[in-house]
């Protein structure tokens, strides 16, 4: 299902932050995790993840480091910072409000 550009863009920040809250990770793994979590419904153009990561890094929500993985590939790993964690909490609250509001009206519509 096509979620539309705006919704994908808006959900990108909380998703990336939440995934990094599980532990540090790198671009390709993050994309895979998003696909997994959404059951394949949420699909990003791969490259677009990187500007998002760089923006989060500029705002100090994530930090990055180049490191070689076990497979010997040189990768840029991202991890959540303290500010990132605070921001994730704030985002979670916001999205919960949206979610609950929509749920309430859709429940009503179902019952009616």
């Amino acid at each position: 299902m096509d979620l539309g550009k705006d919704l994908v863009a808006a959900s990108a920040t909380p998703l990336v932050l939440a995934i990094l809250a599980e532990g540090e990770s790198y671009g390709y793994a993050i994309i895979k995790r998003v696909s997994e979590l959404s059951g394949g419904h949420l699909h990003w153009t791969d490259g677009m993840l990187y500007p998002v990561l760089h923006r989060l890094e500029r705002h100090g929500l994530v930090a990055s480091k180049w490191r070689s993985s076990e497979s010997g590939r040189h990768r840029k790993y991202y991890r959540l910072t303290k500010e990132g964690r605070t921001q994730l909490e704030a985002q979670r609250k916001r999205w919960q409000i949206v979610d609950e509001t929509l749920n309430r009206i859709w429940m009503k519509a179902c019952r009616a």
Partner: protein
Amino acid sequence: MSAGPGHAPLEEQIGQWRAYLRRRRAFNGPDVEELETHLRDQVAVLTQAGLAEDEAFLVAVKRMGSLDALSREFAREHSERLWKQLVIAPEGDAGRGTATRTETLVVFALAVAAALAIKIPGLFGRELDDAHAPFYVRNASLFVLPFLTAYFVWKRRMDPRHCVWLAVPFIAAAVVMNIFPFTRDSHTERLSALHLPIALWLVVGIAYVGGRWFQGGGRMDFVRFSGELFIYYVLIALGGGVLTAFTMMMFQAIGMKPDWIAQEWLIPCGAMGAVLVGSWLVEAKQSVIENMAPVLTRLFTPLFTILLLAFLATMAWTGRPIDIQRNVLIAFDLLLVLVVGLVLYSASARDPEAPPSLFDGLQLLLIASALVVDAVALAAIASRISEFGFTPNRVAALGENLILLISLAGSAWLYAGFLRGRKPFRALEAWQTAYLPVYAIWAALVVVLFPPLFAYA
């Protein structure tokens, strides 16, 4: 991944993709590397799932998204990268890094050499003062242009044995400028001093194009280089002025007299060294920053066209004749130089394959109005030339006027042909670049022939 027979094509494809990414301003080195790791991860997973390597590569590239959209997103996030910085030590291969360092050293050494060269005559009793000012004015270009030529001989990897003859004009110029018995403050001396750099600039140009003056687009590149160097030199001079002002102000504040630092060291040495440094910056940045000269051309072509048309209209309306003052011929020469410059630099930035545009029409209008204005001025001068007599200044100014007129008339003719679709734009470009040596040869004639012809007066 195995190093099987299918391995090389994939590496080649990834290499091409990487090079393509590198050419975009929005991505820097680490970004490209990060995206490349992603691509490789994706290809590895897809080949494990059973795809052939080239198929996997195509799918991975597709999933990465359109490069245009991607570079737009990167540019939005890293807007500072669009303000392309002049990178003196470019990121990338280590080999290129050392090459840049060597070049920095060579340029630095040559700049210091040029800066010190102007102090050498001082060691032999020719101090930089009013008494020896004519000597320095005559020889100014000889202190710096040989070093600039040497830089290009080195940079273009010309065989030094084949370009020894490049030294001949410099030696000849040094001999001529210093054995001619000029009368002090004479017109011929000033004319020679003024024309020598123009004549020698052709020698720099020959070194710039690596000795292949008649091949390829080298001559137009040299025109571009000259324009950019002029702009850089003005900027460096402005900075140097600020530096000098602060030097004076600060040392005066502690009761010292710093004039000699400024007059004997800062200004002359800076003026010489800046030519080398400016040239090097232009060489380093040519692919990085938009050329400035064509931008200025675009800005001022319409304005000068309006000026010339308004001048002609006013003259026709009021019937006022041109007041023939002593310097009026030189003023109109300068006007023609300016128009030639505007035409040359707009041609240097134009895509020769593009069809005629409104701006081309404007160029033709500019040339035509300049020709008419000059014709009016020449007619006014011709009627009184016998009254003035033939002084060296006047002959030089008339000769220059003639040369510039021919150049502009040729450009106008070819522009008209181009606008009517009869001639390619390349013909115009070829005319302008072919004409370049004429200026230098005329300048050389003024330097060498005028002083004896006019008895060094």
